[in-house]
């Protein structure tokens, strides 16, 4: 492998963004009126500041940047090389710069400084079914999506039948996509992507959707891709998938490379360091907190019976998932709920707040709601939480961020758990400790 040529060379990549453009509030009519006349100039300056970074004093040689508070460095001096045929996993917490890195490498956004050289045809998959138009038929969308992803028309012509067969939507191929179910749309999008033949493939967690059988089929296809000498860059939260698919991984933290090496080693170090998208998340900046007009999320944490926030839990003990949210308008029917996913991305269950005290219309204010997952219920492994609040009547999603927190469930081997005396691996999405009874008869043989 080491004799292979570098196909991606990244040198000193930086990318900064400006965040939190605050709106000013006025407490007097005069102030508001004056502001109305002054605002065009102010707005102009505000929107211009999104792409003008004159206020950053940077020294390219020493890499010391004096930055104002509202500028964040999504990538801060990232350098690495990728050899031909390497399957590189990019891991890190939310906001560590993984997606920014992929977006820069796929030319969607420009780096602020630094450069990257890419040798060979590159295709990026940041979304399934990019450019699908609901009014067009499946057939037409295959061509559109294929060319968007960098295929030539001739190429699609020759692979068309295979793509359709792979997707399994033959019957609906001349039906407008707007009449497809979500699953069918995803399958069609995946199928086009699966038949891309670039030298370098860039993938962002798109595999986290779709039904699991189809997901496996796509994973299989991806593994084939790796074996065919193609270079793959793969961003994921799914550590198991990274270890399985990737030969090498880099760990990003706050826009910088923290670790680089064989995938299993980097993943192991990452998981044990406690850096992993932790079991507590608090939004301090009101600009960034997920939320709609009626409710917004303030914090989510995973705790034990004593209220202590932990990263890993004993499989026998109850686990409390707590969310703190703010209700901005009174008299709405709210539906707080969690969706729990395992490491493979399987949707384990949804739990809805059914507390009878709060089933009616609620006053505005701050709420802290906890759902208790009983002990001896979840299986072993890393669990991801999607915390969400809908308003009913009208049904509006206030927030539903995925993977806000995660926690580890550990099944100890001391014999009192559902595994009994079995030391090997156990499958299944849940691991309940069930009551077993046996009747014994002493039969003389």
């Amino acid at each position: 492998m080491s004799s292979e040529k570098n196909v991606i060379k990244v040198e000193g990549l930086h990318k900064h963004y400006r965040i939190g453009l605050k709106e000013e509030m006025h407490d007097s009519f005069l102030g508001a009126t004056l502001n109305f006349f002054k605002s065009p100039l102010k707005n102009y300056r505000k929107y211009r500041s999104l792409y003008r970074f004159d206020d950053i004093q940077s020294n390219q040689r020493t890499h010391i940047h004096k930055t104002p508070d509202n500028v964040i460095w999504a990538l801060n001096d990232v350098s690495f090389n990728v050899k031909r045929g390497e399957v590189l996993g990019v891991i890190g917490n939310n906001g560590a710069g993984k997606t920014t890195l992929l977006r820069v490498l796929s030319k969607i956004t420009t780096p602020s400084y630094g450069r990257a050289e890419i040798y060979g045809k590159i295709s990026s998959l940041l979304e399934v079914g990019t450019g699908f138009h609901p009014e067009l038929t499946g057939r037409e969308n295959i061509y559109l999506n294929g060319t968007i992803l960098g295929m030539r028309k001739k190429e699609i012509d020759s692979k068309f039948d295979e793509i359709v067969a792979f997707s399994g939507v033959e019957k609906f191929i001349d039906t407008p996509v707007k009449r497809y179910s979500v699953g069918m749309k995803i399958r069609l999008g995946f199928s086009v992507a699966a038949f891309l033949e670039p030298d370098i493939l860039v993938i962002d967690e798109v595999l986290a959707v779709g039904d699991s059988d189809f997901q496996k089929k796509c994973l299989q296809k991806m593994e084939d891709v790796g074996k065919h000498g193609r270079t793959v860059l793969f961003v994921s939260h799914n550590m198991q998938m990274v270890t399985r698919l990737c030969s090498r991984a880099i760990l990003l933290e706050k826009g910088q490379i923290k670790d680089d090496g064989p995938a299993d080693k980097v993943v192991a170090a990452y998981l044990s360091s406690g850096r992993v998208s932790s079991s507590e998340r608090v939004w301090e900046n009101m600009q960034e907190t997920p939320g709609g007009e009626v409710a917004r999320l303030l914090a989510v944490r995973v705790k034990d019976e004593d209220g202590e926030v932990l990263e890993s839990f004993d499989i026998r003990k109850p686990i409390g998932i707590e969310m703190k949210y703010e209700v901005l308008k009174s008299d709405f029917l709210l539906l707080p709920h969690y969706n729990i996913f395992n490491e493979e991305g399987d949707w384990l269950f949804t739990t809805i707040d059914t507390d009878p005290d709060w089933r009616g219309r609620r006053p505005a204010g701050s709420y802290t709601s906890t759902a208790w997952i009983p002990g001896n219920f979840l299986s072993e492994g890393l669990m991801f939480v999607q915390s969400s609040v809908f308003t009913l009547d009208p049904l509006i999603v206030q927030f539903e961020p995925r993977d806000v927190v995660s926690f580890q469930v550990v099944d100890s081997l001391d014999g009192n758990t559902a595994r009994g005396d079995w030391p090997g691996s156990m499958k299944g999405a849940v691991r309940p400790l069930l009551k077993w009874t046996s009747e014994y008869e002493n039969v003389k043989l």
């Binding site: 963004y17 929107y47 969607i108 956004t109 450069r115 890419i118």
Partner: protein, 291 residues
């Protein structure tokens, strides 16, 4: 299955052997750049499908379909004939008003709609802009080309009306491609400028429909160019729309080619187009960051 894989492997090998390797450089380029025609050529299939999508989707789920391309300008022609021809009795140098306005409104309809859509193209395409890279230039160019289909269909109106008024084709008709080219270059130039501006400042969205409605009076669409005093003729003709309308009239109706009304516009539209391309390329890098 094995067959399939080995076939794929083989094809990959063949490609690897014969194709010179592509090199992509990712960096922040500052300053003025020219259009990368080589890159555009690479994406010509995509361009074709984008244009085709635009055409296909425009009249999706309508009863009248492409008849709208005829109906819209036709109704405008009828209304203008009643208001400006019959009621206001504007001078048309002796040409029947219906014929007079038909010849102008068909290219005007194309230009105004292409202009509107092209200027909004980046804002409307932000979903795609954020997810995949292809030359950003394709966004404003797509509606400019797609709208030509409507224009092509609405040419039928000109043909029917010209037949009705027994207009005899003259050699002037040979100039028509020149004016169609000029007609296409105007929304292209404006689209390049305004789409790049609109992605940063959404004011463009609010200004455009209003500006387009005003623009119709800056060109000899409802009135005749001969009513413009000689002293203002040059300034008036700097507006390239004037040249297109006057050119179309002269081509189809066979009147003498009013070159003084046409040259200044050709010059302006060239500056508009060239400047637009430069400006667009200069601003291209920040489109995604300011969505």
């Amino acid at each position: 299955m094995i067959n399939y894989i080995s076939r794929k492997l083989n094809s990959a090998k063949i490609i690897a052997k014969h194709k010179p390797e592509e090199v992509t450089i990712v960096e922040h380029r500052v300053g003025w750049q020219l259009i990368d025609f080589k890159e555009l050529k690479k994406y010509r299939d995509l361009f074709y499908f984008l244009v085709w999508r635009e055409i296909k989707v425009l009249y999706a789920q309508t009863i009248l379909g492409f008849s709208w391309a005829i109906l819209q300008p036709l109704i405008q022609i009828v209304i203008f004939t009643i208001v400006f021809g019959k009621v206001a009795r504007l001078s048309t140098d002796g040409i029947p008003y219906f014929l007079f306005s038909t010849v102008a409104i068909i290219p005007w309809t194309y230009m105004s709609q292409a202009m509107l859509q092209s200027s909004q193209s980046l804002v409307q395409g932000q979903q795609l802009l954020d997810k995949v890279y292809f030359p950003r230039l394709l966004y404003p160019l797509t509606p400019v080309l797609a709208r030509l289909v409507d224009f092509g269909i609405s040419i039928l109106i000109i043909i029917v009306v010209a037949l009705y008024y027994r207009v005899i084709p003259t050699w002037n008709l040979l100039y028509l491609p020149l004016f169609i080219l000029l007609m296409v270059s105007i929304p292209t130039g404006i689209g390049l400028w305004l789409s790049a501006l609109a992605i940063r400042f959404r004011d463009v969205k609010h200004a455009m429909p209003f500006v387009v409605r005003m623009l119709i009076y800056t060109a000899p669409i409802v009135y005749s160019a001969s009513s413009i005093p000689e002293t203002y003729r040059f300034i008036y003709s700097m507006n390239p729309i004037v040249g297109v309308i006057e050119g179309f009239r002269s081509c189809i109706l066979g009147t003498a080619m009013p070159w003084p009304f046409i040259w200044p516009g050709i010059l302006t539209s060239f500056i508009l187009l060239f400047g637009g391309a430069l400006y667009f390329k200069r601003m291209e890098w920040l489109f995604v960051d300011v969505i």
